[in-house]
Amino acid sequence: MLSIRNIVKQYAGHTALSDVSLEVKSGQIFGLLGPNGAGKTSLIRIITQITAPDSGEIFFNGQKLDQSHIERMGYLPEERGLYKKMEIGEQMIYLARLKGLSRDEATKRLKVWFAKLGMETWWKMKIEELSKGMQQKAQFVATVLHEPDLIILDEPFSGFDPVNAEIIKNEILELNRKGATILFSTHQMESVEELCDAIVLLNRSKKILEGPIKDIKSAYRNNIYLVEYEGQQVGINGAAPFEVVTETAGEDNLHTVKVKLKAGSTSNDLLQYLMPKTRINMLHEVIPSMNEIFIEQVSKIA
């Protein structure tokens, strides 16, 4: 869907993107992650053709990116904004027409969206009369009204209360199910784990991590398991196929142990060692969260 190849962008004082490449597959929800100033917005502005890269190429569905692709993208910038004095219905039709929709078509679709999100009464209101959350909702609709193939969302959940954030999240998922590819940039790692199929992590203008979430997480597995057992505390000696990382005793003789498997051992070895000694309630692998991976990766380089 979107193939970004060796993008370099330099501003007067600093490099915003140095040799960044990434692939967004059709139908994916793709996360663009990175700390502030990593170059996310610069990259998004290049994809949306607001600015041009110093070098490198972008392909949209195999074609070199050009003006004709603009109408197939929808972009919700991090800094939201609409014309304050303009009526909301009129304004959104205007924005949709700039994306190539006819007036009639835009009006028709807008009515559907307004009904769906409970915004019917807003049509004649001016933006300045709406609350910030309502403005955000309106702007989200403006972003997707022309049914773009690629939806680019910069921090889509900031400024929403939990209820509306959930509504927007579901809308994003539905658009994705209908076939839209979604590229979104965020700091909220929970939403990344929940929504994204694949990610790219940028730091200081460079790509430092990429791939499907599953692969990344498995790459960050470090053989740590959490075991919960019941009964007397088990004495663990050097013969065990693992080392204890932490051990906590809970109520009702419940014990939770975090262990790290020794090299060459598997979870089966762990079970075999423990089974004769106690009753095991639970065993699961501790996979680092995206948040931990993010912090680890970024601070490692810093």
């Binding site: 972009y75 014309y83 004095k85 924005l95 972003t143």
Partner: protein, 408 residues
């Protein structure tokens, strides 16, 4: 192209719908009409009170005839008696000495109006002159027949033949045009600038430029605002013309000055109007591109001062010179240069227009205007495309120059 049209449409419609626009559009012709009404009223407001003039004619040759509001009575007797017998405050006593060359006196209880005194003086002079002529054996009837009523009509000799000019009317028109251009370049230029700042501070800019090119947005805004300006002018002119026609229709005799003024504009008006429209449009495009660039470089209107001053200075300079210098020496080298340089030409050339500017000068000036606005638009567009996405950076001239050389 279609998108630029959409932008123009939005800029135009949102502005024309604003209350301020409607109020201004109606207010100016209303003021114009009000002014007319006052003039008409003043002109109609003749002395309507009845005056009785008691004439003590010691000379014996002054026979006045009554007029609608002035009655002449010859009471005989002394001046003092006549003075004592005055019935009303509006009555007067006219004391004419035996030799009319001695001072003629007019007595009244209150100050006499100047027009009445003038009137009487004129009448007496006419009578005295007529009397003198008759005494000298001149046939006054024949004299009246041959007396001409001369009015000077200045005629200008040009290559295309002689043409009548009414200097006052054409000057007034060109001066009005220059003032109008000067004011509207600021008013509408500032509107363009404010629009750019609004989009920038609203942060809607990023949404828009992800749909259209910054250049399209800038041009759309400039053209949209320009059309608003033209609409306002057209409405002002038609409304004012309509009103003055209505007012003029009712008070035609008293407004003959206005009628002759309009009549005298005649052929020149068309030429001046064309020049006005040309210089207004090109001047507007020239300046509003610069204003747009300034708007893109700042975060709020208060920061615009440092950039506005050098932009507006040449125009201000020309405007100040317009009456005192350009009008008096329209063909001096400075005047010619000012009317060539696009920064000052819209005002300077308008001032020179009534003096029949040579065709080649006009041609150069006009071509320079066109080149000028293409040039400023090019520069402005390059600054604009970077500026609109820059926040919190205090823009300096050095910074602007850097933006200009940025690659896309």
């Amino acid at each position: 192209m279609n998108k630029i049209f959409l932008i123009i449409q939005r800029e135009y419609i949102t502005r024309v719908r604003k209350k301020a626009f409607i109020v201004m559009t109606l207010l100016v012709p209303a003021l114009f009409a009000g002014m007319f009404a006052v003039i008409a009223l003043v002109a109609n407001e003749k002395d309507q009170t009845m005056h009785v003039v008691y004439v003590i004619d010691n000379n014996g040759s002054f026979k006045f005839t009554d007029e609608p509001f002035v009655k002449f009575i010859y009471p005989g007797g002394s001046v003092a008696a006549a003075k004592k017998n005055l019935k009303s405050d509006d009555d007067l006593v006219l004391n004419i000495p035996a030799n009319p060359k001695d001072t003629v006196q007019l007595f009244a209880r209150k100050k006499t109006t100047l027009s009445l005194a003038d009137d009487l003086q004129g009448k007496m002079n006419d009578i005295a002159t007529g009397e003198g002529m008759v005494k000298a054996g001149i046939d006054t009837a024949r004299l009246h027949k041959i007396k001409s009523n001369i009015v000077i009509k200045s005629t200008e000799m040009t290559a295309t033949g002689e043409q009548g000019t009414n200097i006052g009317a054409t000057y007034a028109l060109s001066f009005a045009g220059a003032v109008l251009i000067y004011m509207s370049l600021f008013i509408y230029g500032a509107q363009v600038m404010r629009g750019v700042i609004e989009e920038k501070t609203n942060r809607i800019i990023e949404v828009i430029v992800s749909s259209v090119k910054p250049f399209q947005l800038m041009m759309g805004k400039i053209i949209g605002v320009g059309l608003v300006g033209l609409t306002q002018f057209i409405l002002w002119i038609t409304l004012s013309a309509g009103i003055s026609y209505l007012v003029g229709g009712h008070t035609s005799p008293t407004n003959s000055a206005l009628h002759s003024f309009l009549h005298n504009l005649g052929a020149n008006a068309g030429y001046e109007l064309l020049c006005f429209i040309f210089y207004w449009i090109t001047g507007f495009l020239f300046y509003s591109a610069l204003f747009a660039a300034v708007g893109s470089a700042v975060d709020s209107e208060t920061e615009t001062q440092q950039f506005m001053f050098p932009i507006t200075l040449p125009l201000l300079f020309t405007y100040i010179l317009s009456v005192s210098y350009l009008f008096t020496v329209p063909d001096s080298p400075l005047s010619v240069w000012l009317s060539m340089i696009p920064l000052s030409a819209p005002v300077a050339m308008m001032m020179r227009i009534p003096y029949n500017v040579p065709g080649w000068q006009l041609a150069i000036s006009m071509s320079l205007m066109v080149i000028g606005f293409i040039f400023t638009t090019y520069i402005a567009a390059r600054i604009y495309r970077v500026g609109i996405l820059m926040y919190g950076k205090k823009a300096s001239y050095k910074e602007l120059a850097k933006w200009f050389f940025y690659k896309e």
